[in-house]
Amino acid sequence: MPAVENTVLICAGGACISAGEKSVKNVFEETLKKYSLESVVRVVETGCMGACDLGPILVIYPEGVFYQKITAENAARIVEEHILKGRVVEDLLYKGDSGNLTEKPQEELPFFTEQVRIATRNLGVIDPLSIDEYIARDGYFALHKVLFELSREDVVEILKKSELKGRGGAGFPTWMKWDLTKKAEGDTKYVICNADEGDPGAFMDRAVLEGDPHTVVEAMTIAARVVGAQKGFVYVRAEYPLAIERLTHAMAMAREYGFLGENILGTDFSFDLEIRIGAGAFVCGEETALINSIEGKRGIPRVKPPFPAIKGLWEKPTLLNNVETYANIPPIITNGGEWFSQYGVDGSRGTKVFALAGNVKNTGLVEVPMGITLRKLIFDIGGGVPGGKKLKAIQTGGPSGGCIPLELIDTPITYDNMKKLGTIIGSGGMIVMDEDSCMVDVAKYFLEFTVEESCGQCTPCRDGTRRMLEILERITEGEGTTEDLQLLKDLGENIMSTSLCGLGQTAPQPVISTMRYFWDEYEAHVKEGRCPAKKCKSLIQVVIDRDKCVGCTACARVCPVEAISGSVRKPHDIDPEICTRCGSCLAVCRFGAISKVSP
């Protein structure tokens, strides 16, 4: 079989079909046959490409050329001109706004063009096991500069100009942390890297450690030089074995090259690093809990102040930054503080890595200048919501954050704006949810998480979140009352003001935020016993439309609890008493006869 040379994608979305896509496809295939091209040109029908007013649309790869408003007549012309002779048919070229297209010439994908990769500059570019490739991309030159050209004060000044803030969640100015630790009294000091990334939906720290471990080693060595530390620890969660493996290798190579250990780069500065592995406790992402865990204790937070910069690991001054923050340091030192602060907007300078997850087409990591709007991030870069569904909300900041509804999608992402919307940027996780997500269920999900992860030290967090979860469970089971809603609010505010650490102080946030924007949905649950998103199993029924059912028996065969009855070629029925609302039957019905209903 000869190799396929071209792939032709024909949009078979509803609009293109109604504009004559089928006949275009037929003519196209016949013409290919006429010239014996059918084995080297593959014709594929795709889902809607988004430019519905210009259909039928087709794209020819590998060139990525778009044609619009194709008719049966000019389909043959495209084969004869473009495929056979390699000449683009100018008058049929796509002329619309390319922003509407989901399938575009690949080099123009906004996923790539909109990014400014600083913290993630080496990801996917270098071999993480090769220190030479890291050096080829200017690695360890910043360390050299710090040791030979800059004073410790100079470095702090550069960070101050860069306006870099901690990328782990709290957003504290990085230069200030460095300055405090540098000025703290004591001969013994430590630097720590927080790689206990745990917010659901965030995974940039893992990607950096796995793809570019040397950037963390270099940045921590620089930090140690500036604050005057002799030893450093990287606290990595045990769930990231590959990150641990790659970092261990990077540290060994750095020692071999003289970037770690005694007399770094031939100077009198000595510093070494060690990896500490977590053991499955989310709360260890809180800096004082992390310090306790490194000391070999339970990971429970300490009362602040004193802050770690004054009294941290073994009561010594300690500098703590997370992976992404460190990853920004070497390029900032190489290029200068102003270079970094040219990106972003007032109060939120530089770039930020966001993790796109959930119901979004392009799941993954993107690094963009701060101040970008949510719309651009989710729709242009992220490609929008798949499956023709509508966006409902975006959850940011993990269990400490909140949900942003569709109406507010034009908000620029800054520390201040997110605060105003009742959420935080946090570590940069963005969980996109489509119309099928129930916001009460989402809130319940986060509370389950907090109840599981609360360290148990203080009462508001340990017991309070549990009570909140019980109320949410009542609501999703249809047993909630309007009093419950008020109770939930009061309890939440109480926990936020009385908990010891950041985990408890922010734990009610997902509930408070969903109540703020989706009050109707809460009310529907308690007042009408209805789940508008048809998600809460106790509030829905799965039913068969007897007019559409042809009696194929596919549903009855797949039902795990034998709740579906009916004879062949006769409409079937679901017994609501037996049905567990698992949705298996919905997935197999080819006639659209089965649906979920909520009263």
Binding site: A3, V4, E5, N6, T7, R42, V44, Y61, P62, E63, G64, Q106, E107, L109, F111, Q115, R117, T120, N122, L123, G124, V125, I126, D127, P128, L129, S130, D132, E133, I135, A136, R137, D138, Y140, F141, H144, F148, F203, R206, A207, V208, E210, G211, D212, Y240, L242, A243, E256, Y257, G258, F259, L265, G266, K361, N362, T363, G364, L365, V366, E367
Partner: protein, 125 residues
Amino acid sequence: MPKIKSLEELMKIKENAMKGLKMRDSGKRGKVIVAMGTCGIAAGAKDTLRAIVDSLEEKGIDDVAVVQSGCFGLCDVEPTIEVHLEGSEPIIYGHVSPTQAKRVVEQHIVGGKVVGDLIVKRGEL
């Protein structure tokens, strides 16, 4: 390896390694980079890597290196590979199952034609 003590030594390593990254004077005709972050591995990158190595071996190709990198960010299309042959722009392919990996070797590396339907990005990251 003696420890590095000067900027000159650092520059020297950089220059040598740049050649490797850009493939000049490396004695190879090209390289295939397989994204081996945990997300890539979870999506099957290990099988893809094996398929590429096997397929190159089968065809007796020894002037194309197979190397690994971290995740470049577009998890949705994992497993991803980058094919970079000397004298042409690098191509990133997505959804590269072992079967597709064989196609890339046959069509792109042997045949010199890019595999249009798998392309995620042309040109350097």
